[in-house]
């Protein structure tokens, strides 16, 4: 066997042994037991101290507030979302007091206007909505209500309203297309407004020969868009003809 081969063989063997040795010492014992990670990581995470107590823990001592919240618009918002982790407070209520977020900047984290929030979610513009006065002056954080019923659809459907405002349909009031009873504004989920359901509805203004002002473009209802509903192609709050 040539000398080179033996020498290289030794060199590679040494490398391989070093590699195996390093692997033996550095790879954690439980690596790969349950997947491509250290299985014992689950235990170390489990061993971390608890920070949150959960809203049921609060009920024992703060029953009036808990009951009030459960019946309110904030029934889905847990105590510690606003008060921060409170496990230490539960263990020693006299020593550790959770923070109460009284500043105006806090509530808009959820209620500030943001186009990505679902339609109907109560949103306000924190700059314009009763500036400088703390939110708690008018809204009880544990049972929030609008002190008066909002007058405009924009209050809860801001995204739709501002989209429509810059569209070809800007001049059409919401009520042209939706018969929204007043009660919808007070209890929006219980009383739902109607929505257009047929092609003929749009045709009322857009059919060729319809009884509508001449500047409104008309289409041949028999052929245009075939059997599809108009809003499968045109967004009704921002119709485009492209």
């Amino acid at each position: 066997m040539p000398q080179q081969v033996t020498r290289l063989g030794i060199a590679f063997a040494v490398l391989a042994i070093v590699f195996v040795a390093v692997r033996q010492t550095l790879v954690p014992d439980t690596f790969g037991d349950a997947g491509h990670y250290r299985a014992a990581a689950v235990d170390s995470i489990e061993a971390q101290p608890l920070k949150y107590a959960g809203h049921e823990a609060c009920t024992m001592c703060h029953r009036p507030i808990a009951d009030k919240r459960s019946a309110s618009n904030h029934s889905g918002v847990s105590c510690e979302v606003c008060h921060g982790p409170a496990a230490e407070h539960v263990a020693a209520p006299g020593n550790v007091r959770p923070r109460a977020p009284r500043e105006r900047g806090f509530c808009p984290l959820c209620h500030g206007y943001n186009a990505s929030r679902p339609s109907g979610f109560p949103q306000i513009d924190p700059v314009a909505h009763n500036p400088t006065v703390p939110c708690m002056t008018c809204h009880d954080p544990h049972a929030p209500e609008p002190p008066v019923i909002p007058g405009e659809c924009r209050a809860c459907h801001g995204q739709i309203a501002s989209t429509k405002a810059v569209s070809h349909h800007a001049v059409l009031p919401c009520l042209t297309c939706h018969d929204a009873p007043e009660e919808h504004k007070a209890t929006p989920r219980a009383v739902r407004p109607g929505k257009p359901s047929s092609r003929d509805f749009c045709g009322g203004c857009h059919a060729e020969g319809a009884d509508s002002p001449p500047h409104i473009p008309g289409v041949d209802m028999a052929t245009h868009g075939e059997d599809y509903l108009c809003w499968q192609c045109h967004y009704p709050h921002h119709p485009e003809a492209e």
Binding site: P2, Q3, Q4, R7, L26, V27, G32
Partner: protein, 395 residues
Amino acid sequence: MQGYIYPNEFELRWGLLIVLYPYLTGLVAGAFILASLARVFNVKEVEPTYRLALLTALAFLIVAPLPLVAHLGHPERSYEIFLTPNRKSAMAMFGFVYAWYLMVVLLLEIWFDYRRDLVLTAREATGPRKWFYYTLTLGATDLSDRALQFDDRVGRWITIIGIPSAFLLHGYVGFIFGSVKANPWWSSVLMPVVFLFSAIVSGIALVMIIYLVATLFRSKKVDMGCADKLASFLFYAIVVDFSLEMLDFIHRLYEAEESIEILSQLIEGRLFVSLIVLQIVLGTLVPLISLGVVSPALSKRSIARIPAEVRRLIYLGCAILVQIGIFSIRWNVVIGGQLFSKSLRGLTAYKAELLGLEGLLVAGVLLVLPFLVLGVLVKILPPWPDTELPASPEA
């Protein structure tokens, strides 16, 4: 920013360093392919650059993973990809492709090729130098004819294994991009092939630059036969590379998927300078035409007869333009692929920072570093064919 983009597309995740990484690995693969021309395909003219090409490949290979490591941001954990290999991750498997290429291909080939020189230098030298070179020989000091013949045979075989390995090394980088199916600018089966040929182009050009500049500094005469041959191969490689790229381009135009509109906006706007001007006109067409006219690539006696000194300068100029062009290709792939929104309705912009881990400064250092490494390698293992070897005692 222009049009509609999603919030998470505003900032580019892959910046300058990720541009650098395919550029550097491309140079490695290209330089190695050039070396294999001399070794396996017996192109005698390019022999003077054989060792230089090997050392260049090694120097750039050593630096190639650094941009990745810097980008990922935890250099101290990088070795873990070898300890706990994730076989489902194409990116993680790169570690093994890299290790194979470094240990089994490049280092071995260089070792077999230089063994005789190492042994002779070790015999000649004194003190620590002697021990250093002796260690490099690994104690294999047999210089009999049989042993030397063995070196040569093994070297050839390693090169033969090395060619597909070099293809793998760089084709793999193209594969990573080509397999991102959500990105219409990247997703293409041609990607690995295009990457490979652009790698060959850049590697030949790089070795040519280093060869021409180094001979100048050593005040030696440039072997024009070698330079002409390099220029011809550069020409052929550019032809293949450019055809493949055009094929990809025409294919996209003909398919005209829904992304075609935003991609044409991308090319006409954001990428105009780097794609049309730098990559295609300066980086491809100008070198292609100049080399076609000046080098003996098309006919034995080149179309325009030009004195050797001027020809050399033209070659050097072309090679530098090619480097700029190939760097632009990497830029256009990596940055270009992140400039348009997945909504296909908007474009964002990329602005490189100066300082910071992913900034221009670090990128500059990483570009210079391979040349420093090469300088050290050349000191230890002189690649010049005209270097005087200490007379061997047997002779």
